[in-house]
Amino acid sequence: MDNRLLEMVDITKRFPGVLALERVNFDLKKGEVHGLLGENGAGKSTLIKILAGDYSKDEGEIIINGENVEFYSPSDSQSRGISVIYQELNTLDTLSVAENIFVGNLPKKKGLRTVDAKTVLGRMLVDINPRRIVGDLTVHEKQIVEIAKAIYKDAKILVMDEPTAALGEKDTVSLFNIIRSLKLQDVGVIYISHRLKEVFEITDRVTVLRDGRLIGTEVTAETSRGRLITMMVGRELKDMYPKRDVPFGKTLIEVHNLTIRGIIEDINFDVREGEIVGLFGLLGSGRQNIVRALYGIDEKDNGTIKIKGSPVFIDTPAQALLHNIGFMPIDRKLEGLALTMSVFSNITMAHIDELGSGYFIDKNLEMEQSQKWVNDVNIKTPSLETDVNSLSGGNQQKIVLAKLLETGSNIFIMNEPTRGIDVGAKVDIYQMMENLCEKGAGIIMISSELPEVLAMSDRIITISQGKITGEFTRKEATQEKLLQAATV
């Protein structure tokens, strides 16, 4: 007997003007972890949304346990044992762990909840007190609650969309242990991630999509990183990190004694023209607080900022922009983009007052500028009027970058510049960073991805518990040294 849980055959989905999926085949076996890879816009989300009953397919068949099924709504999909755990978790933060797990089918007797919840959590080999309020949990614990919810509903097919995006290393290990325990219980897991390392660690097979087409399905143990990348981008990516040799110029910005009581203490560093300075630290190390204070978002208790040698006063983002400091926020959806607005109004958002003299916007100038950045940063959008909401993550991130460039700044604070985006978009962004350096700009980069920090930074400053704990040149820095300094 076939041990296939799920088969998706010749799935086709059209959106107005776009063929999102073209005859894509995908299958999942019992107890298998099947990775789904592809750049943003490749069709992964569309495929998953069809499986989840969010979208209806135009053509093709979905077969579950040998039975042909049609999904008209998410509840149809759920009743067939499919559960999707999205990147943005859907927990009810004011309720307890037990209540979250049983939401929708609460056991009648109150006492049973905690006991049953313990059983469900026990199946995943984790120990969280079911009485705790979910709002107090960590991201990983919330994720566990969501998985438990799915298990309780007897999910046989679990879809995880970028589950490790917001997790640290320890939590990732814990998540993988949970996934392995689910495998033993014959649950099939569809695992979506941009992190190839994880794909190799946890998946049994990998399917790669590109431009809405199936490129291929590989057995993980028999494939290689390079092969998957080639499949994803459709070309050989010789140099993932296009680092160039840019000579450094004068000192652009100096930070002296920057202090926020109880959070960061006595931070000193500088950035030169043409230089990328990486700030590396673990979550909660204070690296965010440093750049937020620098850009005038958060108040600082002490500290002097000098630009080209002269002290400046920065108390608001507007003042920072006036001194040619641009800021890329850590979360493009929460802090970077006006999602309901067009591509062009997002690009010019931090530069509105400069779009023509007087009270009115010079429309021609605005369109010219936006078009220029769309070309330069290689943003793929149907038009300048398109809502950024409808673009892929990589293109959205590029718009955030374009917005920064439009301000005409020469000091850039880039927070996780390539977070959650595909390889191709990453390289485009690195290229732009290098272009900026060649033009004499200085960049302060914060990134949680060590390879990125190592490859792109000219100098790396490690932060731990609000203090600078080390400084390394590009040549000196190694993964071990950075981690050691960041965990002092």
């Binding site: 608001t316 800021f327 929460l334 607005m341 429309k363 038009s383 917005k403």
Partner: protein, 325 residues
């Protein structure tokens, strides 16, 4: 590409929005045509002009409320503001030694400015929710109207105030001129100006707007201020039209005004909407009341229609938005 952008858009209206507003205006034309067939009196210059005059006072506040709502805010103190302005103006006029009428009108407008400034201050500096803030101001202003007039209506037979409410220039009613001028200004501000763009940005994502160097507090404060000024101007028009100042004026009007704005396609969540859409919403409500009255329906029936049409129109927007996916 740039050619596609109409005066109203500021680029924020997608093609779907554009056609939504067009559909609203088509709906309006159909309504006008049907009423014209059903009632001989409806399609007369006299009736249409008096209808337009009647909607001017609520139309003006609907225009400025559009700005507030696109910004993601709300101002429900407009009704109380209108009433208190009318009471104060009539009260001052009936003093034993009344100030000059120009001064009285100025004080009326300053009152609205002060109410708007108060709302703006509380919302931007204390970071209070705009619904709560203006709910408070609504009760305060309405109550102060009763206190000031000792719950009576005060007659104000005065030429200048009368002109604001009932006068006309070249046969065009003065309130209608004000209505037209204000809508033109608001539409241009939202479509073309830097200030209008900032309102859209704040409504769409306030934090992103702040990090983009937009002075969020200032833009918000000014917008609430303008809403307050518009309300007191409406108060003057209503006082002129009715020749009385009374605390019951414009009772519940804030909800009708919000109805017009929502029907016009402005989202309660902010970031989307247009002044032109609100104009369509205001006109549809005006024609609805006038037309159904002309063919013999009573006010209470028309309230039911108003509610039904609001839900119908807004659900059409929802369907349209979802269809894009």
């Amino acid at each position: 590409m740039a050619k596609n952008i109409t005066a109203e858009s500021n680029g924020e209206r997608q093609k779907t929005r554009l056609s939504s507003t067009t559909i609203l205006f088509m709906f309006l034309v159909v309504m006008v045509a049907s009423f014209a067939v059903l009632s001989k009196d409806f399609y007369s210059v006299y009736n249409l002009s008096s209808m337009l005059t009647n909607i001017s006072f609520s139309g003006i506040v609907a225009g400025t409320l559009t700005l507030v709502m696109i910004m993601g805010g709300l101002d429900i103190s407009i009704g109380g503001n209108i009433a208190l302005t009318s009471c104060l103006v009539a009260y001052l006029y009936n003093l034993e030694n009344p100030p000059h009428i120009a001064l009285i009108i100025l004080i009326g407008l300053l009152l609205g400015t002060a109410i708007g400034a108060f709302n703006g201050f509380i919302i931007t500096r204390l970071d209070l929710n705009p619904i709560i803030t203006t709910l408070g101001t609504m009760a305060m202003t309405r109550g102060m109207g009763y206190v000031l007039t000792q719950s009576r209506s005060i007659l104000i037979l005065e030429n200048v105030v009368g002109f604001i409410g009932r006068g006309s220039i070249a046969k065009i009613p003065f309130p209608l001129i004000l209505f037209g001028v204000i809508y033109t200004i608001l539409a241009v501000v939202m479509a073309r100006s830097k200030f209008g763009r900032k309102i859209y940005c704040i409504g769409s994502n306030q934090e992103a707007a702040r990090l983009s160097g937009i002075n969020v507090r200032r833009v918000k404060f000014i917008t609430y201020l303008v809403s307050g000024i518009a309300a007191s101007l409406s108060g003057l028009i209503l006082t002129g039209q009715t020749a009385v100042g009374m605390p019951q004026h414009a009772n519940g009007s804030e909800l009708d005004v919000i109805t017009a704005v929502l029907m016009g396609g402005t989202s309660l969540a902010g970031g989307k909407g247009s002044v032109l859409g609100t104009l369509a919403g205001v006109l549809i409500l005006g024609v609805l009341y006038n037309g159904f009255t002309m063919i013999g329906f009573r006010y209470v029936h028309i309230r039911v229609f108003q509610g039904a049409i609001l839900i119908l129109v807004v659900s059409l927007y929802e369907v349209r938005d979802r269809k894009r996916f």
